[in-house]
């Protein structure tokens, strides 16, 4: 494949060029800067086109066209939106904590961008191949609650505070099953480094992807639900539930600050999908096409699924949301670790039968256990 | 290694019943709690009795395991079933089981039914452990658990203030003796370097007194005897036992008549070799026992509460046993211990049956119960005859054995005192019998009825023991029992003496006759004598002492003496036990309120002083956490600076 390492070649070429004229440390710096710049540019661009993609897909699902006026197929729509955001008035509430109100959206974007560091975009295309890659990802993405808190608290608005609290509760709750759903993958690949995880899924015509094992499938489902909840997308968008909280934690934000929140959210959606692809869907593994095309293709497919979910499902109720995380996903993910352990301990055929049976059985057991809530039949006096 | 051994099960089964009853009894078992306790007791019986008979046949069981390792010393726990413990074991399992069966009827309907049986099971477990234990530490642990059970069971009706006070008193009083016991055991360990009975016996048999002088061993023996004084209610620590009658009657029968109080005597028997090694201690034991026996019998003459009479009788009989042991009469003492357990338990259960049937405890309100409660009355009278020492019942043989020991070993004074005591015993027992069961019903409000079969059957069971158990120790079987014990611990034996037997029979029959003369004819003498001597008996302002001979010749001095002794008991000794300077009070005559004032004043002064000091120091406690932390930190800082020698 010629096109596979094309970006790597380009960078190496540039660095070679640098090395002829500058001392070594400049080359290193340049290497760092190039990766950083690529990520810094890629993040917002991806975000912009995700908004467009989302609007188009949602439109189609609702029998509409979606934006198609600005540019061909509406391709310039995000640019137009961005310009609109820039020129909008920046409103700060009178009693707001001004510094934190300003800091919150800025801080929001940082972890979202930092996560790109460990995403393996293609064969050899990981910005930094940290040996604690997945842990790094989990750690960094757990920071995102704090800027949300900052924004909601600094706004001095009860809707904001309520939204912030909901966001925090939700993110903490869903982080636990998400992390636990990752554990079997780490067990299988014996490493935390993202690139190595992808490599361990190679070969076998894609049948070595972790999603094609019982525990992988269950883990993927758990992870994916948690990912949707982590980036506050429907049906888990309680922190910004319009009908209850106006706009949740960013009620008091407008203009570019609002855009930053928005950007962080969409970049999170992208990175979470990308990590899902890395962990369960074989990352950049795939035949014929360049690895990065496979990677982006799979990632965008997952993003499309997220949008599809948004177009389909209703918003959760708060108690259902928490119950789903703590009473269903968390025990299921714990059981999943056990199942994965059994998978590695038993020979192949038996492992399939055993683990698949266990997955299905535990799924239904937890369904049964969670069905306890039966609301009492209510009679209203006025109705008589 | 612990070998799995059925004998370990004997105490563990009741303990299991205790655990189950205390945890689940109140909620799940309820009235079935009794069955659990009884079944475990019966199981313990089933295990223990064959063992006992094997020992009677000459076998001997011992087993132990390392419980605690301290440096190179090993403390081994285990059991030792030798003739002495086998005979006790035999007595405890049978009496305990029968009393529990009885209690399941007696306690029917009590709100804390299951807790009662939990306590009783715990007690059984401790008592059995004590009996078969092979060393002083295990013995002492069981001893203390029994003390706890006694406390819990005396205070079983803790809503009654008198019961609450009584359990408190019992616990504290026996505690005095227990501390002495512990000190004695530790001294013994210092002297001989072991707690194990067999090793102690072996060492002493070889004449090895350890590194320390013989007087040290003697002191330790006296201290061990303190345990007996406390637990077996010997003078001067006997005051708790009458009060302990506040507990449920089966408890009085089991703990405060048959088993626990006998444990003190058993302690002396267990450490008999120690006493034998230092014969100088023997007179102490004899004296204490003798005083106890006589004094308690004296007090019993004037009591009106049925259970208190029996309690004083118990004290008196325990005094008998201790006296016997003091005269090196191990066989006699132990023999009396076992026979006494049966007929005294029977007496208490009979008394319980009477109380159950009449709902009163005062014998002046009873009368003529013979026809209404035939089973109770017959068994009670048999037991009374046994206690009085009428041949051929068991009490006769064992008491005769003690008198024989006293007579033959040359303690003539002791012999006559004991004989007098035997006479008084017969008298007060039959006073009780005649007042309670004969004559006319005195209180029209009392409607007596016979107790249910679950209560009367154990009575008949105990009657068997009370009647037959004298035989093994009697001349009829050539003092089999004494010889049996002598296999284990050598002690002197004496040939039966016709003179002693005659004296004993005369004392018993005389007492009974005197009681019969006075109390079977009281009705028409009563009123006239009551009018004439009313001022003299103001202290006993009840209505039963109206007989002429009673008032002229016997009762008046007896009553006075009894009263004096009783007061001596109640005020002086109780006071000393309670730590209020009873000696000063006694020496300073009756004005005890002055003493109280001084002592209280001292206590109050100490309290005020403490309060005053406290009011200064309490400023430090601000209730403010960070302040504490700051102070702690500064202290730590000072420590660091000091430690690093920076200053």
């Amino acid at each position: 494949m010629i096109f596979d390492p094309v970006f790597i070649r380009l960078k190496a070429l540039f660095l070679d060029l640098c090395a002829r004229f500058f001392p070594e440390w400049v080359v290193m710096l340049a290497s760092i800067v190039i990766s950083a710049v690529v990520i810094l540019v890629m993040g917002p661009v991806i975000m912009m086109y995700l908004t467009l993609l989302e609007r188009k897909l949602l439109g189609r699902i609702q029998n509409r066209y979606g934006p198609n006026r600005v540019g061909i197929w509406g391709l310039l729509q995000p640019v137009a939106d961005g310009i609109k955001m820039f020129i909008k008035e920046d409103i700060v509430p009178a009693h707001a904590d001004k510094i934190i109100h300003l800091l919150a959206p800025v801080v929001t974007v940082v972890p979202s961008l930092m996560v790109f560091l460990v995403v393996p975009f293609g064969n050899g295309m990981t910005a930094v191949n940290l040996n604690i890659g997945i842990l790094y990802f989990v750690a960094i993405s757990s920071i995102t609650t704090i800027p949300i808190f900052m924004g909601s608290w600094a706004s001095r608005n009860k809707f904001s505070v309520l939204g912030g609290m909901r966001a925090a509760a939700q993110m903490i709750s869903y982080e636990a099953p998400m992390t636990l759903a990752i554990v079997p993958v780490i067990m299988a690949s014996q490493t935390l480094a993202t690139a190595t995880i992808v490599e361990s899924q190679g070969g076998g015509f894609g049948m070595n992807w972790f999603i094609f094992t019982p525990w992988g499938l269950l883990g993927f489902i758990i992870y994916f639900f948690c990912a949707i909840a982590e980036c506050n997308r429907p049906p888990f968008d309680l922190p910004e539930a319009e009908s209850e909280l106006i706009a949740g934690f960013h009620t008091e934000y407008s203009g570019m600050k609002f855009a930053l929140f928005y950007m962080a959210e969409y970049m999170n959606a992208f990175t979470l999908s990308a990590i899902a692809v890395t962990l369960f869907l074989g990352g950049w593994q795939g035949p014929f096409l360049p690895s990065w095309i496979w990677f982006f293709g799979k990632t965008f497919l997952l993003v499309c699924v997220m949008i599809w979910f948004r177009g389909t499902f209703l918003r959760f109720r708060v108690d259902h949301l928490m119950g789903f995380a703590w009473k269903f996903l968390l025990p299921l993910s714990l059981i999943n670790i056990l199942i994965a352990g059994l998978w590695f301990l038993t020979p192949a055929i038996a492992a399939w039968a055993l683990t698949a049976g266990l997955v299905v059985a535990s799924f239904f057991v937890f369904v049964k256990l969670n069905k306890t809530f039966v609301p009492e039949k209510r009679t209203y006096v006025l109705a008589d | 290694m612990v070998t799995a051994d059925r004998i370990f099960l004997i105490p563990l089964l009741p303990f299991a019943a205790f655990v189950v009853n205390i945890l689940f009894g109140a909620r799940f078992l309820k009235h079935r709690a009794a069955w659990l306790s009884i079944l475990t007791s019966i199981a313990a019986c089933v295990i223990a009795l064959p063992v006992c008979f094997e020992v009677f046949g000459g076998a001997r069981f011992a087993n132990d395991f390392a419980w605690l390792r301290i440096n190179d010393g090993v403390l081994r726990f285990g059991y030792l079933v030798d003739p002495l413990s086998a005979s006790l074991l035999f007595m405890v399992v049978i009496v305990g089981t029968l009393i529990q069966i009885y209690a399941s009827g007696y306690m029917q309907g009590d709100p804390r039914y299951s807790r009662f049986f939990a306590y009783v099971s715990l007690f059984m477990s401790a008592m059995l452990t004590l009996v078969i234990s092979n060393n002083f530490i295990l013995f002492f642990m069981a001893w203390e658990i029994m003390g706890l059970c006694s406390y819990l069971l005396i205070g079983f009706y803790f809503q009654k203030e008198s019961a609450a006070k009584a359990c408190f008193k019992a616990f504290l009083t026996t505690r005095l003796g227990d501390v002495g016991f512990l000190i004695g055991v530790l001294m013994l360990f210092l002297a001989l370097g072991t707690f194990d009975f067999s090793e102690i016996n072996r060492a002493l048999a070889l004449g090895d007194h350890g590194a320390l002088p013989l007087s040290f061993l003697a002191t330790s023996a006296i201290f061990i005897f303190c345990g007996t004084i406390g637990k077996s209610a010997q003078f001067p620590l006997h005051v708790w036992l009458p009060d302990a009658m506040e507990g449920p009657t089966p408890v009085s029968a089991l703990i405060h008549a048959a088993t626990m109080v006998a444990a003190g005597v058993f302690l002396v028997a267990r450490s008999f070799t120690i006493f034998m090694a230092v014969p100088e201690t023997m007179p102490v034991v004899t004296t204490i026992g003798c005083i106890t026996a006589f004094m308690a019998a004296f007090i019993a003459l004037t009591q009106t509460d049925i259970k208190r009479i029996l309690a004083y009788s118990t004290i008196s009989q325990l005094g008998y046993m201790v006296t016997a042991l003091g005269m090196q009469g191990l066989g006699a003492g132990t023999f009396h211990l076992i026979t006494h357990a049966f007929f005294k338990a029977l007496l208490f259960l009979g008394a319980g049956s009477v109380i159950h049937g009449t709902h009163v405890q005062d014998i002046r309100q009873m009368g003529g119960l013979f026809k209404k409660m035939p089973h109770t009355a017959v068994t009670f009278i048999i037991a009374s005859l046994a206690l009085a020492g009428v041949p051929p019942l068991s009490g006769f043989w064992s008491k005769d054995e003690i008198l024989l020991t006293a007579f033959a070993s040359g303690h003539t004074l002791v012999f006559w005192i004991l004989l007098l005591t035997a006479f008084m015993t017969a008298f007060y027992m039959f006073r009780l019998v005649f007042i309670t069961f004969f004559g006319k019903a005195r209180d029209p409000h009392v409607h007596a009825h016979e107790s249910p079969a679950v209560m009367t059957l154990p009575l008949w069971g105990l009657v068997l023991g009370a009647v037959l158990l004298g035989i093994p120790g009697s001349p009829l079987m050539h003092h089999w029992f004494q010889q049996f014990l002598a296999h284990a611990i050598h002690h002197p034996e004496y040939h039966p003496s016709a003179f002693v037997m005659t004296c004993s029979v005369i004392a018993a029959v005389g007492g009974i006759t005197l009681a019969g003369i006075i109390y079977m004819k009281n009705t028409h003498w009563a009123e006239s004598i009551a009018k004439r001597f009313r001022p003299l008996y103001r202290l006993s302002f009840n209505k039963f002492y109206l007989d002429e001979i009673y008032s002229k010749f016997i009762i008046r001095p007896f009553t006075a003496l009894g009263e004096v002794l009783y007061r001596f008991d109640a005020k002086v000794i109780d006071g000393s036990v309670n730590g209020v300077g009873a000696g000063a009070m006694w020496l300073g005559a009756v004005k005890n309120w002055i003493d109280k004032y001084i002592v209280d004043g001292l206590v109050n002064f100490m309290g005020t002083l403490t309060c005053f000091l406290n009011s200064i120091v309490k400023r430090l406690q601000t209730g403010f956490v960070q302040n504490y932390l700051l102070i702690a930190f500064l202290g730590f800082l000072a420590f660091i600076i000091w430690e690093l020698k920076l200053v």
Partner: protein, 104 residues
């Protein structure tokens, strides 16, 4: 670690600890106290890591213990904040010097 002398890191953690201690001693708000305690724990953690790195111990040892400390810190915060909430609910205050009933 080759770059910075051990002494400097130790002084740094000492200062961090001192600041945390000052906060613990003087903050009125109980949550503030908890926060300051976290600072002290972190100072200790830094020392654990540094010592394990610079002595003959295996470098994992210090980190393992730092992980333990972090877990314990989480426990502290969870229980502490639960107490704070209960306190706030019952007494409407979370100032340490207003909760001083436990005296005399």
């Amino acid at each position: 670690m080759t770059l910075i002398p051990v002494e400097h890191v130790l002084i740094f953690s000492l200062l961090l600890f001192a600041i945390g201690l000052y906060g613990t001693l003087t903050r009125r708000n109980i949550i503030g106290i908890l926060i300051s305690i976290e600072l002290m724990l972190n100072a200790a953690n830094i020392n654990l890591v540094v010592f394990a790195k610079t002595t003959s111990l295996s470098p994992e040892t210090g980190q393992v213990f730092a992980v333990f400390v972090i877990a314990i810190a989480a426990v502290t915060v969870a229980v502490g904040l639960a107490i704070v909430l209960a306190l706030y609910r019952s007494r409407k205050t979370i100032f340490a010097d207003e909760v001083h009933l436990l005296k005399w």
